[in-house]
Symmetry: C2
Subunit: 195 residues, 2 copies
Amino acid sequence: MRQNPARRAALLDAAIEVLAREGARGLTFRAVDVEAQVPNGTASNYFDNRDDMLTQIGYRFYERLEPDPGMLAAGLEGPRDRAKVTQLMHDLVDRISRFRSGYLALLELRLEATRRPELRRLLTERIRADVDANIRYHTEAGLPGDATTVILLYLALNWLIVERLTLPDVFPEDRIHDLVTDVVERILPGPGQSA
Amino acid sequence: MRQNPARRAALLDAAIEVLAREGARGLTFRAVDVEAQVPNGTASNYFDNRDDMLTQIGYRFYERLEPDPGMLAAGLEGPRDRAKVTQLMHDLVDRISRFRSGYLALLELRLEATRRPELRRLLTERIRADVDANIRYHTEAGLPGDATTVILLYLALNWLIVERLTLPDVFPEDRIHDLVTDVVERILPGPGQSA
DNA sequence: TTGACACCACTCTAGATGTAGTACTACGTT
DNA sequence: AACGTAGTACTACATCTAGAGTGGTGTCAA
């Protein structure tokens, strides 16, 4: 078990790419070595086994997902109405969709979590924290809607992203934008005044 | 390539179980043979290769998912109000959740579809048909809400099921029921009269 | 000089694939 | 009733692949 944290991070990022591109089946130490352009055996030196690697991928993913402070601040500017939420949700969907490999890797991790208790614990904790943070942010910013609103947005947008990333022709790309708008308009109460 | 359709179906059902339980990595001809309790080499005789098998699993899944005629009829009884939709959605979520292995296998297939054009085509077609059928059923039954409503229900409930099946502790089991209710109440317009 | 790491090479192992060969069953033919 | 044929089931095998893990050597920095 090597210590070099930069190298470990590089390996994990490579692992995320492999996981997204080749699937759980293609995720091997070797493949990670190749993707990270390091000599064979390196990944093997950094991770005890596949289990260990998968868990560390989970950590790494959330490390990379730390929300952009600039973005958070942007959410606090201007009026707190429904249009604002719509814009925030568009930004959110775009940001996640742009990290395609990360999101696909996370889906793979979810499925793996089905069989790996430690991974399951990790993901459960992170996602709960994520949902809670969204709720807190939303309500503290005085945006319209309550905790349930935020959860519903979370549910609908997540699947919308799944659909977009895995079967892009079910909802054609040019309808995605409208769908995000629809989601917000239908889920948020009232015609746009704050709370 | 053998013809016996009963045996082929049994193999595919076994494959669904393996896919859900062991993941894409564990899905091998051998594993399917074992699961189906047939001699080694049988799956190899029935499928050209893994690709072929995965595609056939996709077909088989939708074969098994044919909606229950009794259930469809039940949706047409009684008043067409919001309570009715809530009940239908509860039934839907329960029905899918009960076929846990099938749904998990389908998620695996979605991820595989990322790399397999034929599988992607198949799933796209089936899911589109499924969504369209839901919309048609919903509107023709005179249930409250329009096409967008149905799509939003589809989005939110799908992710709710993902959450339930992969990370059951994010939303504890006893809150799922309330969440389904919330989803319907927030997404459906008005206080419950028909359309 | 020591320790941590990068790099390289090698072996071991496991597991999967696909096929060749045999046996069985059912059906049709004469 | 005997025979032949086709389609399967079953078994065993030969092959192949690739990945895991480790030991050894070189390198750099404290």
